[in-house]
Amino acid sequence: MDETRAGACAQVPASGLAEAVGRSVAAGGRYAMLVGLDERSLGGAGLGLEAVLVGPGGDLERIRAAVPLDATGYPSITPLVPAAHWDEREARDLLGTVPVGHPDPRRLVLHERWPRGYHPLRKDVPVGARPPLADRRFAPFEVHGEGTYALPVGPIHAGIIEPGHFRFSAIGERVLHLDPRLFFAHRGLEKLAEGRPLAGATPLIERACGVCGVAHGVAWASAVEALTGTRAPARAAWARVLLAELERLYNHVGDLGSICAGIGFGSGAARLGLLRERLVRANDALVGHRYLAGIVVPGGLGRPLDAAALAALPGLVADIEAQVAAAVRSIVRSDGVMARLRTTGAVPAETAAALGATGVAARASGIDADLRRDRPYAAYAELDVSVATAASGDVAARFHVRAQEAAASARLVVEAARRLPVGEDRVPLGEARAGEVAIAGVEGPRGASWLWLRAGDAGTVDRVRLRSASFANWPLVAAAMPGNVVPDFPLINKSFELCYACTDR
């Protein structure tokens, strides 16, 4: 997978990083991620930042700058490229790179209980070190003025939902501003991976998220294979397509049901919830895990696919596709349901593009992008991936795009199962050279997830960063809220269906 091995990296001074990234975006590049680095592990003097962009032709562009260890900082990228805003805040918390002129310099990942000056991803901080508790005040962003009030929600929510704090500023029920605060589930995954053998960190990486494990697993496996000069067997490449589409399918079917649940439409939620359960049970029969963990590994597949389950899969998936289609038809015909979905939580295309939206959220706002087609990996180059889009950017658009993608995924599962070549599941890994970088982008159920990996000594991880699709899309949820009423938040949130775990790591 040579396309994953990162190509040349342009070096710019810290003072010129923002301009260079801005020029690339102005020339049609799509911002993918920013990676904070401590270069001292590989003989460097201080910190570094690397911006990764996808050029208009689909090639990766890398722009790197050295950033001093002290708090001098560098001119912030965000005023020119808003999609970088959370990346820059994260890098400042975890490494201490200070973006001068960032419009929202609050902490992001490390909340009030973390002491000042503590940057866990620096190489001189030991892996397991737990610093003393700090006690500072959280400064939420609120709108003040006559008739306005602030409504705090979370981090513990009323349903079976992950933790996040949402600060609504509203007049009456009408939302003026939403300040989302995440990273409650920050588990320090990237630091834990450092120093581990490339072959052995897979169970950790795929647990960035319980329901995007295949997406992260494929990105990880592709990156490790690129660093070690390993070519996964053809059977593994096709199986990865099969597994990735199964993951998209159960997620999308579940999400369609969640949108129904979000407006109290119980029969739709129950019907789609039952179909999702059948899908995760099919996953279990195929690989022994309901959420497909432990199957995608560097070098190929971690275990053989169950032959009987594989034989039964096309019939089962085709049946579920038909039932999902029937459920969707029934929902779309219900005026009461559709009236709630239309015009709710609309994100204009310009906003989606500026914030770097991806996946269903981007495509529902008219952005025609899908890494399976634009930068094919695994066996996607040999498949016709139809990309569904919609223009209105509201909950209804996200519902329709998701429903079309679910149907397309079901067909891809059937095709991948039919074309799955016979052969070996796994090949041994080659050697990785310290300091080499691989970058992998995978279109998961929630959009493009990027993984940046640099090898350390003796085949270990020096630095890995996961920038999930949810990380990219969370600011969109905030952008979708103003003008809507507070009680529509669960519905709008469900229509994006983002993971907190993927974002927080």
Partner: protein
């Protein structure tokens, strides 16, 4: 459309029962479904291959024998694949909930029966009595027919939480036992806690527990809540909820399947009756 509305009501009649018969019947697993591995001690060559590949260090070879900590085990079968002699076998054993952390340490030689709960193969041998309504009966006796559960994510990967959501789908439908998820800790008898207990969440987690009325129960759900799972040793939090919240029942797995969650709730209500 009138037909769609009618269809919504008639659909269940046409499609029949969607709900599983667990726990009266064994969980409907596939041959591939991964459970706690089983050791045939006679075939073990003590090579340590299993311990070397275990992603969480759950397996230890000590002078007095082979030990597996089911609380840290991801049920990933990596050890089974690595075993050079075939001494470690794949099982579909997933009903692993116990009351005490120490009960989760499984010794190599069956039976693995442990006080206050059951783990591993011993369960199959101990299955003496079938009681389809065990959980319903227990809840009826102990908690006046209903068990109100509050979910608390203390920093998980979301896997355990999705399995908890699956309890509410028509297949697992945990409401048939009188169990329901409630919106506020003030309405809850039980806190089902997932995740490692991250620093960013600790204060909110403790305050959630403190908001519950007495008597209150806590269940540690999944490897992370029991001992940190794959995230053990991180700067970002604790190795499990135990340092902060008192767990009454621990449910191993990564994530525990919905049937395992039901078994844990049954054990919590003091009426887990192994099947015959």
């Amino acid at each position: 459309m009138p037909f769609d509305v009618l269809d919504r009501y008639l659909r269940p009649l046409r499609h029949g029962r969607a709900t599983s018969r667990y726990p009266a019947e064994a969980p409907d697993l596939s041959p591939a479904s991964r459970g706690l591995p089983a050791l045939d001690a006679a075939a073990c060559d003590r090579s340590g291959s299993c311990a070397a590949v275990c992603p969480t260090g759950a397996i230890k070879l000590e002078s007095d024998g082979w030990r597996l900590d089911a609380g840290s085990c991801l049920l990933c079968d990596a050890c089974v694949a690595a075993c050079p002699t075939g001494a470690l076998g794949h099982t579909g054993e997933i009903e692993l909930a116990t009351r005490r952390r120490s009960d989760l340490v499984v010794l190599g030689e069956p039976p693995w029966a442990v006080e206050g709960g059951a783990a591993g193969k011993a369960l199959a041998e101990a299955r003496a009595l079938a009681d389809a309504n065990a959980l319903a009966t227990a809840i009826d006796r102990r908690l006046g027919r209903s068990l109100h559960v509050r979910h608390l994510d203390a920093g998980s990967c979301n896997g355990c939480d999705w399995e908890m959501s699956a309890l509410l789908n028509p297949y697992h439908d945990v409401t048939r036992f009188g169990v329901d998820f409630v919106a506020s800790p003030r309405h809850a008898d039980v806190l089902l806690v997932t995740g490692t207990m991250t620093r960013n969440l600790e204060e909110a987690a403790v305050r959630t527990y403190e908001a519950m009325p007495e008597p209150r129960l806590v269940v540690a759900v999944g490897a992370c809540a029991i001992g940190g799972g794959v995230f053990a040793g991180s700067y970002a939090g604790r190795d499990g909820i135990g340092e902060v919240l008192p767990a009454d029942v621990l449910i191993p797995g990564c994530p525990p399947r919905p049937e395992a969650l039901i078994q844990g709730l049954l054990l919590l209500a003091d009426r887990w009756v192994p099947r015959g």
